[in-house]
Symmetry: C2
Subunit: 285 residues, 2 copies
């Protein structure tokens, strides 16, 4: 049986795959403490049969490189109780005989969008998610980018919006991208969530400024031909068009990748299922 776990910062999804690789059955529940969360997932899986292959798409920072001594562990995170927790060891102990592939939630999402979604067939794609936090995964020259640890895109330092004096919410950096543009930052800065802010509100100009700087940094480093932006905050009306317009202004006509498409910043096609599809695909590699 092929299964997937998407371990998110606020919710976890566990699913088993159909023979065609689609989702046969899934269960979504809140992410709490490590053992409690994983036990819910493994109990649910055991009731469905014997899992042979399991893809795990986890929030970061997490050590996904098998060559490292800390492989399988959650690294430095503000998330209480999770620092140093060994995901893979716990899952291997609970699910006898399982073969586990671990990657970040955003790497799973970009992989799924490249194989099955809006970026099908492309070789160079970035996937940014903006929810409680900000993260990104990359496919570069046809492969998922891992790096020495993995991308920490949320903690990119970006120029402040000229009219923004908000100090940011990141416990490590204050005003990094995540500190200024995450859902948490929006709630702290404006006193309400993104879904409560009207599309014409200037709050979205500030948000688009930061996201556009983030996308510009990615263009400067990995040169993707398409950038997918997902996550709760990105669902605001006109969000992608606003970020794209700001990006084109910033780019000053210099980046050929922008000249080759009408729409460079797009919404994901797989929506909430990208993580689980990615987990299935990872486990099948």
């Amino acid at each position: 049986m092929l299964a997937g776990i998407e371990l998110g910062g606020t919710k976890t999804v566990v699913a088993v795959a159909d023979v065609d690789g689609s989702i046969a059955e899934q269960y979504r529940f809140p992410t709490t403490y490590p053992e409690e969360t994983l036990n819910v997932a493994t109990q649910w899986l055991k009731q469905r049969g014997r899992v042979t292959r399991l893809g795990v798409a986890a929030f970061g920072p997490v050590s996904v490189n098998k060559a490292r001594a800390d492989y399988g562990q959650i690294l430095t995170t503000p998330k209480v109780g999770w620092v140093g927790y060994d995901l893979v060891a716990h899952l291997e102990a609970s699910l006898t005989g399982v073969s586990i592939v671990l990657d970040t939630d955003v790497n799973a999402a970009v992989f799924a969008e490249v194989r099955l979604g809006v970026a099908r067939g492309l070789e160079n794609v970035a996937y940014i998610t903006i929810g409680t936090g900000v993260g990104a995964g990359f496919v570069v020259d046809g492969s998922v980018l891992h790096g020495a640890i993995h991308a920490e895109f949320g903690h990119l330092r970006v120029p402040k919006h000229p009219k923004d004096d908000f100090e940011g919410v990141c416990p490590f950096h204050g005003d990094c991208l995540e500190g200024l543009a995450s859902g948490t930052a929006i709630r702290s800065r404006w006193g309400k969530g993104g879904h409560e802010i009207a599309a014409a509100d200037k709050a979205w100009d500030v948000e688009a400024w930061y996201l556009a700087h983030g996308v510009q940094a990615i263009m400067a480093v990995t040169s993707p031909s398409l950038v997918i932006v997902g996550g709760g905050v990105s669902q605001a009306l006109g969000f992608h068009a606003k970020v794209e317009s700001m990006l084109r202004e910033l780019a000053g006509g210099y980046f050929p990748v922008l000249e080759e498409v009408k729409q460079y910043i797009v919404a994901p096609a797989l929506g909430q299922n990208a993580g689980i599809y990615g987990a299935f695909l990872l486990a099948q590699q």
Copy 2:
């Protein structure tokens, strides 16, 4: 005969390889107009024998992806006379029967440093060069990163230094990284070249601020385990230590890659020869 051309923004190097892959003979001359520059190189090569394999390490932006219609051409550049010039077509016409591998000068340099230099054996490395302009090449998960076009690292947007009101020299963006931190920017801002500025001058704090933000952006995207900084500007006394110290301050203890080495930002080992060694290695692939 294996040969290499490093086509730089201000100088060009042409070389032939010894049987062991080292430089048998090389010639360095100023980069002028396209045909003139390439003719000097090809004439020099023809006098030495028949070139069968040629690695070309060129300044960017340049189209290095064979799947693209503009493969082999110099793209949008402020360099007079070079926009749209087809390097590969010209070289193929001049050197009958030659097999050419084209990449950017910084990709060649990072490849050479990973194979032969300071980053030998590492899988994730960035190489930044700061001379007339600013550029970067990356090895990611063991391979040279290409992307849809290639990295345009010099044009990264960075937060302004709190005490810097210099508007920048980039003709496209003004105050992008290259506009604020290149050798050209240093000369324009301070009225003299980097080699004329004392190590204790506050100019180097400003320079380190911008470079550290550039390195931080790379950490946030490709997660290298080592960053090499080369180019004329980097030769100032104490330069690497100053950028490293600023970077560690910026990183706020969050990036594990920084905790694993004493020195994260290092000088290249191959110096001025990295481009030519990279060109040889490219042509041998």
